[in-house]
């Protein structure tokens, strides 16, 4: 018989495991798409004060990043098409640092992103290099 049949070539145990694995992966993907962002959202927060901005994020590996106002080089507020549809914006803060040369803050309303940007903009006049 020259025609290799799937059912005869694949061992039986694999045939029972494969559908289970497929179901598990699909369930995980669905969970990742619908549930994971909610969890991420719950663990993401920020605080802006006169000193600077503090951004907390991460579910498993968590980090809190402080960027002092005096270290902000420049800022971006960007909006993708979907973000525009829902009135959201992403604030990107650039510093002169190395590992944290750019710090992102996503999921802000566009208005508050602009407000934070205005707050962080360097106001010092003695910008001597």
């Amino acid at each position: 018989m020259g025609i290799p049949l799937l059912a005869t070539d694949v061992p039986r145990w694999l045939l029972t495991i494969l559908p289970l694995a497929w179901t598990a992966v699909t369930a995980a993907l669905i969970w990742q798409t619908f549930r994971w962002p909610q969890i991420q959202y719950r663990h993401a927060s920020y605080r802006v004060d006169a000193q600077g901005i503090e951004i907390a994020r991460g579910v498993v590996w968590r980090s809190i990043v402080h960027v002092p106002v005096s270290r902000v080089q420049h800022t971006d507020v960007s909006q993708g098409p979907l973000q525009r549809r829902y009135g959201l914006g992403t604030l990107t803060i650039y510093t002169a640092g190395t590992a944290y040369a750019r710090v992102n803050l996503q999921g802000l309303s566009h208005a508050s992103a602009l407000a934070i940007r205005d707050h962080l903009l360097p106001r010092r006049s003695d910008d001597g290099v």
Partner: protein, 504 residues
Amino acid sequence: MVSERRLHPASFFFAMGGHAKQLLLPGILVLISARSGSGNWDTLAMVFIVPFAIAAAVRVLSYRYRFDDGELVVRTGFFFRNERHIPYGRIQNVDAVQNLLHRVLGVADVRIETGGASEREAMMRVVSLDAFRELRDHVFEGRSAIAADRPETAAQATGAAFVRAGAETILHLPIREVVLCGLIEGRGLVVLSGLFGVLWEAGLIDNILGTLFGEPTSGRGMFRAIVGQGMPSPARIAVTLVAFGTFLIVVRGFSAAWALVTLHGFTLARAGEDLRLEYGLLTRVTATIPMHRIQALTIQEGPLHRLCGRVSIRVDTAGGNGVDPAQAQRQRLAPLLRRGELERFLHAVLPDHDPEAIWNAVDRRGFRRKLTRSAIVVAFAGAALAWPLRAWTVPVFVLLFGWAIVHTRQWIRRLGWATTNTAVLFRSGWLWRHTTIAPLGKIQVVAIRESPFDRRLQMAGVIVDTAGAGGESHRVRIPYLSRDTADGLAATLAVHAARSTFKW
């Protein structure tokens, strides 16, 4: 009208030299056609080389600069004219590089850098040494009154004349120290592999192997003999060890030679607020680092350093616009320094630095966490080696585990951090030790990191980000702190950073 300066007449050759890469292909074409005897090689030469020569001549002849009040004005271009005004106050670096040819002709390649631009503001290729000195004096006098009493020595093309004029020498390495530096650093492998590549290309390797082993295939045969036949005899092990030892010594020798060439006459001096470096036997480098541009300073100490009672010091500086990490520069401020002189040196380079820092250890639970990590690695290594080692597995495993405990204990003991009024300090490493000093005014971002393992034990790590930290920089990343300590430290540092204004 202020008189304008021109480049040195030799500039034309260096400008042509700068085109060497573009000229390589046409040059080869010309050579080939000249060899093959087809008569039009001179036409080809005209077509390819003459335009470059004209371009170089135009560029050199049209390059003018003059010293106005408070600014340097550089005019370039013949058809498309460009006039650039560079205020003296904005100039960060005036560096000169001289290779052998430059030194024979008594000229230098001068680069002027400012803080704001990503490119070099002005490249003067090339000017005479007197012109360089004049340029530098103008720039520095324009910037501050540091040079009021600078005794301008007679024009000396050699030695550390640039650096020493009106400056206080902080460090000068005599030949002995330079050789020692090479021996300690062990860059010989780089030199050797370069040499090997050249020999290989020249086809000399086969000859050498042939004379050494009689036949070309014996190299492979020897390797097979050592590895393939189970446990080798003690004599063979001894021969291999001696050969390996000789190899290491030869490599160190090459490293010393390399240091002699690149670091010859290393001099670090301080003139006002600037540090000036000068070094190199063939290619002579003169660099200026404004002291306020030092972003972080790292003291390195390997086992050989400790044996000789020396340390080596590097600094991170942020060049150009600093936002692009590729602009980061690491400078060796002191390739080799006696341990006893460290305090004096630090005081000269970082005057604000407080030497009386009180070191804090990391949390005690750090030992167990680090050991768990090492144990996992050892377990995997042991499992992987179980088959080839057979009966030896258990002793080897015990040995590795013992080493892991010793190493972890010493590593955790050395790990520490400190804060002073002006800087945050971090040290790590046991055999190869690093201590980094980051001035508070240079802190960019402060972050707290918490892994799941940290969270279980209420711990966290603190990361202090500075500008100019390259890939191999020793960064301030303090692990294994209790959560409260981490929060407190991060808050303190963030407040300090927020209060100070950052200057490049």
